[in-house]
Amino acid sequence: MSAAPPRVEMRGICKRFGEVVALDRVDLEAAKGEIHALLGENGAGKTTIMNILSGLYRSDAGEIRVDGRPAPIRSPKDAIGFRIGMVHQHVELIGNFTALENILLGHEGTGWVLRAESQRGAVEEVASRYGLSVPLNERVKALPVGIQQKIEILKALYRGADILILDEPTTMLTPQEVDALFATIRKIAEGGLTVIFITHKIKEVLANSDRITVFRGGCRVGTVRRPEASRELLVQMMVGEREFPAGAGRPGAVASSSAGPPALSVRDLSLRNADIHLLKDVSFDVPAGAIVGLAGVSGNGQRELAEAIAGLLPVQAGEVTIRGRSVEKLTVAARIALGLVLIPQNRIDEGILPSLSLAENFVLGLHPYIFKRSGFFEQGTAHEMARIAIRDYNVLTRNERVPSAHLSGGNIQKVIVARAMALFRAIGGGILIANNPTRGLDIMAAAFVHARFREVREGGGGVLLISEDLDELCSICDRILVIHSGEILGGFDGPDYDVYRIGELMAGVRRRQP
């Protein structure tokens, strides 16, 4: 049996995007019936190499073999021909089509007339074989992300894929959905298929894979078999020789919760758009000197809550107080002056002005505080401050004059966080609301941002951290609230969290089933 060639073999794969080398002579192989994990930080090249295998990108050099024979893959169509199917991180379904239409698209069967119903049996047969029950007649956009992902997997399997690639399959799922997903994956692999999944979560890799290939900076660091892998080994392979920032670890006790009014207090906040409740009677406190997390599947009102508190969205009812002072009818600027800083959810659209320089972006919002004396825009001051931020936050950029759109997403986020922290200091603390501040950041940068949040806590400020990453929340928050359909369904005190109970609430299950 040792003579059998690997199911997939990639040799010397190179890929550049402009000046950026995304992959540098990478080798990879995966066997039949294997669950192979690709582990690495963002930008390590995991997704790029899989996009090459699935035909979405073309490699600049290198060779792909399937079952030992050369497989020239130049388009997704070729990849399908080699029975390779990929499920992308952000589900690539067509929201306005039904699940069945999405699955059949491109494989509608013969004839000029669409006979979706006659294919239904075949789809259901594949679905039941792998335990992937999905509502085939529903429009996809009305379905939860977990179901959409099942549809994607079913779509690939229905096309006869026997090499299934999953890109960061767990990012948007609740813990229960994650368990169900990996049970499905195991079943698929036991059926003789090869499953390759991409992740940056070590926990998942250790629990669910047969072999692990670690990427760093566009290179393959190495491949280890599951029994030989450990958390420490994998971290070291992922991060390399860099020093891990201090301050990481379990959340501590609340620094100074009893003294003074809470940093932020929200009472019965309601927000409606026509008949839809975006927020419903939301009440909670963020004590001074505490980090409070807001967990929830994206699109459940997190964004609206942050914007309502910041004064960007008018509310129908409820009261918001910052450091004991009601902000009713105050403008955004007045709220900032009271001590409120917001790190917005979408860094490109809401966080920066892409064509302006880094320095100009950095002083945006800070300007009333730093140009106080002259009232004019002081180039020198702005550039000096930006240079300090670039140094302190380790922003990868040529200088502070480049347009901020030229930076990578992670570096843009660093600039936004640096600016928020500077503003926070300028207004003398208060409450920092951060909406998914570490999405797309690598481990080092995320740990750095978390360290800044801890500084806020130690300085007696409050942090409201909104995140879809439950692991992140558990690692840093003193308290976690769960939001679902615009309602706060529960609150949990740290440092030891029951992630399954939180997961149930994230999925909208209010009471534990007996």
């Binding site: 979405l56 997704p76 169509k77 306005n96 239409e101 059949l104 491109g106 007339v113």
Partner: protein, 313 residues
Amino acid sequence: MGFVFDISLLQLTMVMMAPLIIACLGEIIIERSGILNVGIEGIVTVGSVAGFLGTFMMGSPVLGCLTAMMAGGILSLLLAYFAISMRANQIVVGLGIFVLGLGLSPLSYRLAVGVVQSPPQIKTLSGVPVPLLGNIPYVGEVLFRQNILVYLTYFLVAAVAFFLFKTPLGLRLRSCGENPRAADSLGINVTAMRYGACVVGGFFLGLAGAYLPLLITGTFTDNLVNGRGWLALMLVIFGRWMPLWAFLGALLFAYVDAFQFKVSSLPQMAKAVPPQFLLMLPYVFAMLVLVKVASGAEAPRALTRPYDRESRE
């Protein structure tokens, strides 16, 4: 108020409706693939002059229609090249095509016909009643005592609706307009689908132009199209990118248009109401209805977005 349901008024409505909905069908096909063609008015205008000249010079309405379709297809292909292959801004290219078409039409007319005292005429098509169906009182008289182009219109509405929603090719076309990356990853050639949609849609736009001289005027004048292309563009939104709803919308606007036409020909009305006011009616109506209807209409998700497989979003 028997006038409101007058048979000749409704018959005229069907005639007015035909070019509108044909242009609208063309635009729906193009937009469903993810391309917004705001050059529609220009393409329809070129279609009208091509249709007129083709008929006038070759003496056959069929050849006239084919000429118009070719012209529409070619102009639309130009749009496709810039929008798809060059990934240009579709609004800018579309407006360019609009201006180009607007200039090209009178130019080619003058080149072909020259400056003349009395403009040349072609024969407008006469009615061919459908046996049996045409004898149904009222409904039959309105719908089936028409000329061949109106019948063709009925057929095309049904055919495009069937194509979009009941054929594999239609499903693929719609997928390119909704999520080209998903379509591509399933082996669908997004570029080819979009080019195809533009050319076929262009045939429809050209044909819609040819309808005007063949059905209504019998001559070509510079402002023959007179905003009907833009109206069709709005009807696409009104119809929510669905042929049957667009058909309904076209009927509504055509009715108001025909009403205006009939009323202004009544001598007692001509004194009471200024003709400009009546001419304005269909457009005011268009605005009012659209404000109400267009809110909440959902365009194809990838409309106006060029597709680049290797772009990293």
